[in-house]
């Protein structure tokens, strides 16, 4: 732990430094970099969930004028390393899920490529498949654990069963969340260029981590990472789905290597994004709470059942949030997963905490109802003095303040706790609350470079990525304060592996990890060059390993409030008001942070009411895989949304005094909406999303 930076630029609502470029169309996204003579790739996806490709007839496609090549499992290059089977593109005839790449066309125009892809005939041998997760699935197993790092799948303290047995009040319910897809606005896109002479591969990519993609692609193709460059100056959202490379990066690079010297552009269609770039597993979560009549918890048990793919394991840590959220002497959490014939699931919008907190906070609402205790006070009553899992002190836990102040600002008080007690015309009206927490994530290893341009102007470089969150702006502010200059003197350079290595933009870790590296580099620069550096003076440094104070449990917290109106005739739900009050340490940029909070709250609303990917058990595909049928809120669904935060700093978390802010907006907000719907109607929908049919009377 080092001293905290004096905030001069930090804390100001600086407008986005790249804003003008974006609104005038000058900010290039992955598909748009001006490159000469590009070619276009359109893939062919498997139409069976499990089996073998027995024949690929490319003659029709190859006969089409403008087609340069058709890649198939028969002619694709053999990759150097396919230990990660998600990247084993066109390496065998095996089909492991519906929507897997089985061929790809590269042509002069996107239209020709698409038409030709439609002419590729693929024959299959079908094998039996299993794509349906159930609570008692025969294939459920305890996830493989990494002994050194990564959380344990199960935890147990005390004797939960005995505590539940003797509890005066028990809540025991199962909650489910469906398969959900991240759906960033910008589709996953890679423009790949292979220069045979130099052996250089360049990817213009829509990614949350240029260095992450470089590492994967270099490994898969057996290339020296120094010969792979990944460029991503601007990214139109990722929400986790661009947190690692996916198969499309490999396919684009493979096509480029087959056609040296020509850039190959590959943007997935919206429909293809439902097959190939990750998603949130469905979850089936049993939550059991045992309490005394006043609502004081004696036992907390949270068991999560989820799926993963047969080719790559990923566990959504849904039950983890119950390890630290409330005090109870007896506790247990478990995760069980089943490997199904489905695409690889991955990070999506607060993986783990988001679905887990929905279930846990809905259960807390049920407990408040069962005990006749105000839901805000129930949470305050069970607020732990120290981290109930580790026993460590909190760096700064202000959940109760968020709840109580939030309740005040939302207008919680005076609420009749009885469900179905308020009606406005044809609408039943209710309010709900939920707590939120998200662990402070710091990824070590990021490096920043500082160079004095002269006249007090500095260039600050780091291979970070702004996925729409505001990193261009907030890192500029951090650099300004670290160098003691106004923000206008900082020229930030990010989004390119040509700049020093940086960790992924994900897990609410970006600002913490990169900002800490920038502060370290600025301090190294000032140590070396003093207060009057020569033009051209430079220094690099990586974030110190001991940035985060290990003696403390460090989390961001928040409280969500929502008002729901449910039509008594039709079951339609409207949410005219949502309010969130957050505790995230110092706010680096109030403008971009508010935007992230509001975005998270909209996504929480979306999860509560709208989002559901229906995987057809017979074919294994997502039947409703486009924006007409995979619903997210429209403007008309989003009412008066407000987000505030406590004025604070947390020097134990980062030298900026900040903690993670990216995901706390979506954690808890679905439960606040669901709890409000229950309060409005008296109907407890435990299976998201809460669509009108589930509320019909």
């Amino acid at each position: 732990m080092t001293s905290t930076l004096e905030p001069k630029s930090m804390g100001r609502p600086l407008t986005r430094v790249e804003g003008a470029d974006k609104v005038t169309g000058r900010a290039p996204y992955a598909y748009e970099h001006p490159l000469s003579d590009p070619l276009y790739l359109h893939p062919v996806l498997s139409t069976i969930p499990h089996g073998r490709v027995t024949a690929v007839d490319t003659s029709g496609a190859e006969a089409l004028p403008g087609v340069h090549t058709v890649l198939t499992p028969g002619n694709a290059e053999r990759l150097a390393d396919t230990e990660d089977r998600e990247f084993a593109v066109l390496q065998s005839d095996e089909v492991s899920f519906h929507g897997q790449f089985v061929a790809a066309v590269v042509a002069d125009t996107p239209e020709t490529a698409r038409q030709a892809a439609g002419l590729v005939k693929v024959d299959y041998e079908r094998l039996s498949h299993d794509v349906v997760l159930t609570a008692d699935h025969r294939g459920l197993y305890r996830p493989v654990e990494d002994a050194d790092e990564g959380p344990s799948a199960d935890t147990a303290q005390g004797d939960v069963e005995a505590a539940l047995e003797r509890a005066e009040v028990v809540v025991d319910h199962t909650y489910s969340t469906p398969t959900e897809h991240n759906n960033p606005m910008e589709p996953h896109t890679t423009t790949a260029l292979w220069e045979e002479g130099t052996g250089h591969l360049t990817l213009y990519d829509s990614t949350q981590g240029v260095h992450v993609v470089r590492a994967s692609v270099a490994t898969v193709f057996g290339l020296d990472p120094e010969r792979v460059r990944v460029v991503a100056p601007h990214v139109g959202g990722g929400f986790g789905s661009k947190g690692e490379a996916h198969a499309h990066n490999v396919l684009a690079a493979m096509a480029a290597r087959a056609l040296p010297g020509r850039p190959v552009k590959f943007a997935l269609t919206r429909q293809q994004m439902f097959c190939l770039v990750g998603y949130r597993t469905p979850t089936i979560q049993r939550v059991r709470l045992g309490a005394d009549r006043d609502g004081r918890l004696g036992a907390v048990s949270h068991d999560a059942v989820e799926q993963t793919s047969t080719i790559k394991e990923f566990t959504e840590n849904s039950a983890m949030c119950s390890r630290w959220m409330y005090a109870a002497p007896h506790r247990r959490t478990t995760h069980r997963i089943a490997a199904l014939d489905v695409p690889v699931n991955f990070w999506m919008r607060a993986p783990g905490e988001c679905p887990g907190t929905y279930a846990a906070e809905a259960a807390m609402d049920e407990l408040a109802h069962a005990c006749g205790v105000d839901p805000v006070e129930l949470r305050a009553l069970n607020d732990p003095e120290t981290d109930p899992q580790s026993g460590s002190p909190w760096s700064d836990r202000r959940l109760v303040q968020c709840l109580r102040e939030g309740a005040e600002r939302f207008g919680w008080h005076g609420r009749d706790p009885a469900p179905r007690s308020r009606r406005e015309g044809d609408w039943l009206v209710g309010t709900g609350v939920a707590s939120a927490s998200y662990p402070h994530m710091f990824n070590p290893g990021s490096v920043a470079h500082v160079r004095h341009d002269g006249d007090g102007r500095y260039e600050v470089s780091i291979g970070a990525v702004d996925i729409g969150t505001g990193a261009w702006t907030s890192l500029t502010q951090i650099a300004a304060d670290a160098l003691g200059r106004p923000a206008s003197d900082i020229r930030l350079r990010i989004g390119d592996t040509a700049f020093p290595s940086a960790s992924v933009a994900g897990g609410s870790s970006g600002t913490s990890s990169w900002g800490t590296a920038i502060v370290a580099a600025a301090r190294a620069f000032r140590d070396r060059h003093g207060d009057s550096p020569e033009p051209g003076a430079e220094a690099s440094a990586s974030a110190a390993e001991d940035t985060v104070d290990e003696g403390y449990s460090i989390y961001s917290f928040g409280a969500h409030f929502a008002e729901a109106w449910v039509n008594a005739d039709t079951g339609e739900v409207r949410v005219p008001r949502m309010y969130g009050l957050f505790s995230i340490g110092r706010v680096v940029n109030p403008r971009t942070v508010r935007s992230q909070f509001l975005g998270g709250m909209v996504m929480g609303l979306s999860m509560a009411l709208h989002e559901e990917s229906y995987r057809d058990p017979r074919y294994g595909h997502i039947a409703n895989g486009d924006f007409a049928e995979y619903h997210v809120p429209t403007n008309a669904d989003v009412g008066d949304l407000r987000a505030d935060w406590l004025d604070e700093e947390d020097p134990r978390a980062t030298p900026m005094g900040s903690r993670g802010a990216g995901e706390i907006g979506i954690v808890g907000s679905p439960a606040a909406v669901a709890n409000a719907v229950h309060h409005a109607t008296g109907v407890r929908v435990r299976d998201l999303p809460i669509t009108p049919d589930k509320l019909l009377r």
Binding site: T47, E111, R114, Q115, G118, D426, D569, T570, G571, E572, R574, L609, H610, Y614, D616, R618, Y619, H621, A623, N624, D626, A628, E629, H631, P633, T634, N635, A636, D637, T691, P692, D693, L696
Partner: protein, 330 residues
Amino acid sequence: MKPFAYTRPAEAADAVAEVAANPDAAYIGGGTNLVDHMKLGIAEPTSLVDVRDLLSHRVEKLPDGRIRVGAAVPNSDLAAHPEIREHYPVLSQALLAGASGQLRNAATTGGNLLQRTRCVYFQNRAMPCNKREPGTGCAAIEGYGRYNAVLGASEHCVATHPSDMAVALTALGAQVRVLGPSGERTIDLPGLHRLPGDTPQRDTILEHGDLITAVDLPRLPLAARSAYRKVRDRASYAFALVSVAAALRVVDGTVEDVRVAFGGLAHAPWRAHRAEEELRGGPATEEAFRDAARAELADAETGPGNAFKVPMAVNTLAATLRDLSTEETS
């Protein structure tokens, strides 16, 4: 997308001749549905005949009091037209309940009537679908059933018609004017759209080459008190789970006249003749509204994915008529 020819003939008759001569030709108006289908590979016309400029863009009052809506009138213009808003509010409301502002600006009156089902299996070339490829089967019956029909479906197809406007026009009993290879004719709604039977590939009774030139609204004083209620999974920009177009006249607590059509329930906009008969001359009470709705839905056939549509349709019709009858009294 397959390459295609594109022409813009000057006269409707030339357009009809051009399409009639080529079984793979298609008319294009706003293109808001057809272009999607071409991208998805579920429509592959070799020739597009653009009729947007040769069809009428006007809403005009005929000497006998009827309203003639040109087939090229954009949905947004029709919804905003003062004559429509005042005398046919159900139509204006239905149009505004459909699609988005941008789509309504592009979509035409004729094209809206002829949009095809949004059934997710119809729109996916990898799936069996009797409507897209007769004889391949229906994946929707046992599949994602949220939007499936509950009335008038067949073992070959359970698709629903997606238009909101067509539901209002069906309640109003509008007439569709058609120019075909053998001349002009008119079709009374709900006679344009058909039930799937064993030929679900045919959405309407139109023959290849038929071109909708206009829609005539009858003089219908009853329609001045009318409403469209669309229930959907979000507040805007979603297809109807259930929708109701209704017009109601109540005199001394008795239903003197009523028009009802449902959307979201069938392969075609569903004129609720049975419910209308039950209601006419009876008491204007919520109970009577519910009974009439139940009578209309007595033959509904549902699966696990769409069973909710029956109570939703009953509730929605009752609520719509309740609101109309309350307005009447106040």
